[in-house]
């Protein structure tokens, strides 16, 4: 049972990681928490569902579609809710509040468009297949989630550290003013970052939707809160931190249920987070001074 529960914890954790990656990217560059990320995640799930159910596309095409749609949503978010505030140089809290507004708007919009009932992906879309590896039973969905989360993490890390655009993003994260002086079009870079983060949220939505096989308008809130916890645990704006933080939270939750009492699941999981933060207040991988990613 131990190995099976470990696999359960890893899959649950990797969905948390995927959600936290989006928070971390935006946190790293803009130093704000995008409260609408959970709802972008939910929209991604619905777009994927729509593509599979009505346009009958392959599930991987649906994932790509959900990424594109969520990226567009991210661009709108940046243009309408973040950029106007940045230009006026208002309080740091203002973008937080405006993204909360966006999240409420998106949730209610989804309730109107898609209705309150949860909907499922059709049986053919990945879900049914299972593999038996010794003592553990793993579904294809779980493998895909694990593969895509880790794959995205490595691609993201490589891209940020090696490519020109990645370097521009890191420069912007360091200081927007300096990046401007160096001739980087920071508005474009920020737009790109928000779009990228939202695309990650979108694909996370489809993957989570596939694994629990129920997509509904309020699914973003609880997932968003878990993502926020992981963001703090891993160290704000740190990609490795988001990844490992998610896995730690997932495994902690599953093992509390497996070897303790299920009622204390959240208490233990968040207790661990508090303990880690006592020892490392900057989070697992956060640095005390500047220099992110």
């Amino acid at each position: 049972m131990f190995w099976q529960q470990l696999v359960n914890g890893l899959t649950l954790g990797s969905t948390y990681s995927l959600v936290a990656l989006g928070y971390t990217l935006i946190m790293g560059v803009l130093n704000i928490i995008n409260m609408a990320h959970g709802e972008v995640f939910m929209f991604g799930a619905f777009v994927g569902l729509f593509l599979v159910n009505y346009l009958k596309v392959n599930i991987f095409v649906a994932m790509a579609g959900a990424m594109v749609a969520s990226a567009l949503l991210g661009i709108l978010l940046e243009m309408l809710a973040l950029r106007p505030l940045r230009r006026r140089a208002v309080s740091d809290l203002a973008p937080l509040i405006s993204t909360i507004g966006v999240s409420i708007f998106l949730e209610n919009l989804a309730l109107k468009i898609f209705g309150p009932q949860s909907q499922a992906f059709p049986a053919g879309a990945l879900s049914g297949v299972q593999l038996q590896l010794g003592p553990i039973r793993i579904t294809l969905v779980q493998i895909v989630i694990l593969g895509i989360s880790f794959g995205l993490m490595f691609v993201l890390r490589f891209w940020l550290s090696k490519t020109r655009v990645g370097k521009a993003i890191r420069t912007t994260a360091e200081s927007i003013e300096t990046a401007n002086l160096l001739g980087i079009n920071t508005n474009k870079i920020i737009l790109l970052t928000v779009a990228l983060a939202s695309a990650l949220g979108g694909i996370a939505g489809v993957l989570v939707g596939l694994s629990i096989n129920a997509v509904e308008p309020t699914m973003g809130l609880s997932m968003g809160l878990k993502g926020l916890a992981v963001l703090i645990l891993g160290g704000m704006g740190n990609i490795t931190g988001a990844m490992l933080g998610g896995l730690i939270l997932g495994i902690a939750e599953v093992f509390t249920v497996a070897y303790g009492a299920s009622s204390y699941r959240d208490a233990v999981a968040f207790g661990i987070i508090i303990l880690i933060l006592f020892i490392r207040p900057q989070g697992l991988f956060g640095k005390r001074q500047g220099g992110r990613f």
Binding site: M1, Q4, Q5, N8, G9, T11, L12, M27, N31, I32, I33, M35, D92, L93, L96, I97, I100, S103, I104, E107, N108, L111, G115, P116, Q117, S118, A120, A123, Q130, R137, T139, V208, I212, N213, A214, E216, T218, M219, L221, S222, L225, L228, I232, M236, E253, V254, F255, V257, A258, A261, S262, S263, D266, Q282, G286, R288, Q289, G290
Partner: protein, 384 residues
């Protein structure tokens, strides 16, 4: 940087708080407040879970009520006007809705709210204001202990669940079972306690008791643990949303035993979400659309014609509730006197509804029988 970090942490805390509270606001559907029913129409307020996770329950209730209202008004003995408020499954919203209906809309009586937790929160207000309130789906223990003005035609869990458990124990020769329930839902916890008692009465051993929370989506840890204990059956007390996901996951990891549920299993949504995984789900219900009965056949046909689907238990009980109110209003002879309506409501007996023969006992709980159902090939069928 460090300063910025602290600032943002505080910001996040505030944000989270704001988000949770903001999430509760707004969204109450504008009441359909038409005066078209004319003077003398009795105004009945309805508080239902019309949006959010359990909206399918509220939607069914609204459909059942609308159908009953049209029929009653067409019969012409009494005129009824319905005013809807959305409680979003939230206790605070339910309180606000009840206050608004009583004080602003001046209703003569109330139907709802959908969830027992909401009733525990808002029932006392109706009771203090002297407005009769009838729950059609509030099945938890102690609902009518709130006060003299609180009624229900929902069959309490304490009567339905033991019937389902007993039937399942006899039918499948259950010796040891596992229990799962949602620990942050009043009604689910009450259902769990009833289940536990019923299992004890039948001499069944409980191998494990696992909890989860409303809105949870991952049950793999609990079910992996249960699977390793090899129970003869699993008992689940939760709303359909979580119940469906539990069933799905359970079948996925190879648990094939029957699942016995509380009232949350009692919705076609369970089958819709869980699909094939719902087969083997057992529940006791006062409502069974397949029963041979003229009244039921007519109701099912009319409902199908209007909404293009088979009515579920929530629609059926709401439909009956409005008819019960109608006959009480007729007896009371007034469409505005709340106290008179309460007294006449309390005397209702030998009422024939689509959920069977009905009477209120001295504690304003229903006296009625349940049928034990099992899901077979995606359909609720009678367990015999």
């Amino acid at each position: 940087m460090k300063k910025g970090l602290t600032k943002w942490f505080t910001g996040m805390m505030i944000g989270t708080l704001l988000l949770t509270t903001a999430g509760c606001g707004g969204g109450s559907a504008p009441a359909a407040n038409s005066e078209s029913e004319g003077a003398g129409a009795a105004k009945i307020g309805v508080v239902a879970y019309l949006s959010g996770g359990g909206a399918a329950y509220g939607q069914s209730q609204k459909e059942g009520l609308d159908l009953a209202k049209d029929e009653i008004n067409a019969l012409g003995k009494v005129k009824i006007e319905l005013v809807y408020e959305d409680s979003r499954g939230n206790n605070t919203e339910a309180i606000n809705a009840v206050n608004k209906l009583i004080n602003k809309d001046n209703v003569v009586a109330l139907i709802g709210p959908t969830l027992s937790g909401e009733m525990f929160a808002s029932g006392p207000i109706a009771n203090q204001s002297g407005v009769p309130i009838m729950g059609t789906s509030t099945t938890a223990e102690g609902i009518t202990d709130i006060g003299e003005f609180v009624f229900r035609n929902a069959l309490p869990e304490s009567s339905a669940v033991p019937q389902a458990v007993k039937m399942a124990v006899e039918k499948y020769n259950l010796k040891k079972v596992a229990i799962m329930y949602s620990s942050n839902n009043d009604w689910a916890v009450s259902g769990y306690k009833t289940m536990e008692q019923a299992l004890k009465d039948n001499g069944v051993e409980v191998l494990a008791t696992e909890t989860f929370a409303d809105k949870d989506t991952d049950f793999s840890a609990q079910l992996t643990k249960i699977s390793s204990l090899k129970p003869d059956a699993v008992m689940v007390s939760s709303l359909y949303q979580e119940a469906a996901l539990v069933l799905k996951k359970a079948r996925e990891i190879g648990i094939t035993v029957p699942f016995v549920g509380t009232n949350g299993f009692n919705s076609p949504e369970l089958i819709k979400i869980a699909g094939k995984a719902a087969d083997g789900a057992i529940v006791a219900s006062p409502w069974y659309p397949g029963k041979e009965n003229e009244k039921i056949t007519k109701f099912v046909t009319d409902y199908k014609a209007k909404y293009n689907k088979v009515p579920d238990q929530f629609a059926a009980q709401s439909y009956d509730a409005l008819y019960i109110y109608a006959s009480a209003l007729e007896k009371a002879g007034s469409s505005t006197d709340r106290a008179k309506l309460r007294d006449s409501l309390a005397t209702i007996k030998d009422f024939q509804g689509v959920t069977g023969k009905f009477a209120f006992d001295e504690k304003r709980n229903p006296l009625m029988d349940a049928t034990v159902l099992i899901v077979k090939d995606g359909q609720f069928t009678e367990l015999k």
